[in-house]
């Protein structure tokens, strides 16, 4: 039982490593092994979460040495929830990729799934590792797999991938420099140990420089407002199958890392933390407005979703900037919910492109008649983005708003309201195009015998719809798991 934190990450890794060798034997053997490993890792992450909830955070030391001398995985309530969400999204996206398979060439089949499996393993590791340098290597694996997935998305994807490669490496080097300075000043790489030494005080300047480098590095990776240059083009041209994973989850993991650094390593009582959070607050404020305004004028659905995901990252950062425990819980709920909403909407864009070959909003004719499941997912995703009660969007806004008012930062409440209204503008434009437009008679590229889409696409979509509403109704148990962790943290 205590091996779960390691097995959750190792299994997809071994699956990816073996998939190419197994594909030589039979074309689908590699793919099935990867499905098996992802499913196993998802079940283990659920059991691990249950274990964490029942009897406290789990620690796993690689190599069996004492704590500061070996690499350590630390899964607490927040980490457990994030890991199981990433595992679920990875499993669903792997299913979704079946539709995009090229059956002819053996390398293409095995390789595609092994890249997705590496991508999921990287993100799982980043979310559960508690060692600064280990996170860097996991970030590199995620980034490399992401470059490949974006590059597979066609010719424009190549340029987007190259641009993201350059920007991503600069960000990774900044992160490495930050970790270097922290190591130079504290002597350890383990986050737990590092925070103990930093709290002994006396090293404020070096920690400030390291914090700035970390924020710069992780900000670029997660397309926070001023560093978001690479994101719209990357999300628009990425590979249809795994778009949901990249836009939905990968963009958020660095923000989760930043959250762990700010709250569990540096702590709120650190001298310069107030000024840093104010600056971050300014970035978040502009980011929320900018993303929505740019998204209004788009006609390409994926570009629209890319710009709206800049807003969503700023929502997640909002919780961190506000600092109240309730706001943190709200932003975590938003993190989980938005992964499924954003992922779901990208599934829809991929499905429409798969069936009709177009993602230009203007010719979404009678989509709701021909593709009812996709239309329902678009509507529920849109409602959740705007924050209509039964969906999860409303409840995360609720908690963030309470946090904002408790700490007296009314400006963020106003920003929250304005940005959800801006969201409403372009999402209802999308709904209008899907429901109200008269038929554009687009011919059906890949006719499917029964139903609108192959089952491998329908299952992920229905799961996304279910999670959006279930998280909405049953958010209280999730919040109760997470809130005690934030108690000691708030302002």
């Amino acid at each position: 039982m205590q091996h779960f934190p390691a097995l959750v990450v190792i299994l997809p890794l071994c699956g990816a490593a073996l998939s190419l060798a197994l594909t030589k034997i039979h074309i689908h053997l590699g793919r099935n092994v990867i499905f098996l490993s992802l499913a196993a890792s998802f079940c283990m992450s659920i059991m691990q979460l249950r274990n964490v909830v029942l009897n406290g955070p789990m620690e796993y030391r690689f190599g069996g040495y004492a704590l500061p001398y070996s690499i350590e995985f630390r899964i607490d309530a927040v980490g457990g929830v994030v890991v199981s969400m990433v595992a679920l999204m990875g499993l669903i996206t792997a299913f979704y990729c079946i539709s995009g398979e090229v059956r002819t060439d053996k390398i293409k089949v095995g390789g595609a799934y092994s890249v997705v499996a590496l991508f999921v393993a990287g993100m799982l590791g980043t979310a559960s590792s508690a060692d600064a340098f280990n996170m860097y290597v996991f970030l590199e694996i995620t980034a490399l797999a992401a470059y490949c997935l974006i590059a597979l998305g066609g010719n424009r994807g190549m340029i987007a991938a190259f641009r993201y490669l350059l920007v991503g490496t600069i960000a990774a080097t900044f992160y490495l420099m930050g970790v270097g300075i922290l190591y130079a000043v504290t002597g350890t790489l383990n986050l737990q140990d590092m925070s103990v030494i930093i709290h002994q005080g006396g090293k404020d300047e070096a920690v400030l420089v390291a914090l700035c480098l970390l924020i710069a590095g992780l900000g670029v990776k997660s397309a926070l407002f001023p560093f978001h240059g690479w994101q719209p083009s990357a999300h628009t041209h990425e590979e249809r199958g795994s778009a949901a994973l990249i836009a939905g989850v990968m963009v958020k993991i660095p923000v989760f890392m930043l959250f762990r650094y700010i709250y569990f390593v540096f702590g709120m009582d650190y001298k310069y933390m107030k000024q840093v959070l104010i600056i971050l607050g300014v970035f978040v404020g502009i980011g929320m407005m900018y993303g929505s305004i740019r998204a209004m004028g788009q006609t390409n659905m994926k570009k629209l979703l890319a710009y709206s995901s800049i807003t969503q990252t700023s929502y997640f950062m909002l919780g961190i900037v506000i600092g109240a425990p309730v706001a943190l819980a709200g932003s975590l709920l938003h993190f989980i919910g938005d992964a499924f909403i954003k992922g779901g909407l990208f599934y829809c864009a991929g499905a429409i492109k798969y069936k009709f070959g177009t993602i230009n909003i203007n010719n979404f004719g009678m989509i709701y008649k021909k593709m009812p499941v996709t239309a329902t997912l678009i509507v529920s995703g849109a409602l959740s983005m705007i924050g209509i009660p039964p969906t999860v969007g409303f409840f995360s806004k609720w908690y963030i708003a309470i946090g904002a008012i408790q700490t007296g930062k009314y400006i963020f409440l106003v920003l929250l309201i304005i940005s959800s209204l801006l969201n409403a503008v372009y999402f209802f434009k999308l709904i209008e195009k899907v429901f109200m437009e008269n038929d554009k008679e687009m011919e059906d590229i890949r006719p499917v015998k029964k139903g609108e889409l192959p089952w491998s696409m329908l299952i992920p979509m229905t799961i996304c719809i279910a999670v959006i509403f279930l998280l909405g109704f049953f958010n209280v148990p999730l919040i109760n798991i997470v809130l005690p962790l934030f108690e000691g943290v708030g302002l």
Binding site: M158, I159, F162, T173, M177
Partner: protein, 125 residues
Amino acid sequence: MTGIEQFLADKGIYFLTFFLLSLGIYGIITCKNYMKKLIGMNIMQVSAIIFFLSLGQKKGATIPVLLEGLTNSDAYNNPLTHALMLTAIVVSLGTTGVGLALLTRIKEKFGSVEEEEIIRRQDKL
């Protein structure tokens, strides 16, 4: 000599390393040719490696391979930074490999590796 050495030890080496890092980034941003951007990226990663190794230096210490007589820890350089930097070098090779593969496909598809021509032809496709 010790005066310069003391200055170098405190600020000089760090200043040069960060200068090399910013030069790498400057190269990535200003050079128009994608190949040069990749080389700039490599230089940036080498500068990160130099920074880590300079952290791990000790005055008058030998290479981190154990000798019979010497047991106290001040006699050897810091092995942890060396182990970390092996990973960083391998990562830089991986990134360069992927970058070059992308470069080949871009050259094949867009006919050139210069940024302006690619942007001009990008809208045509």
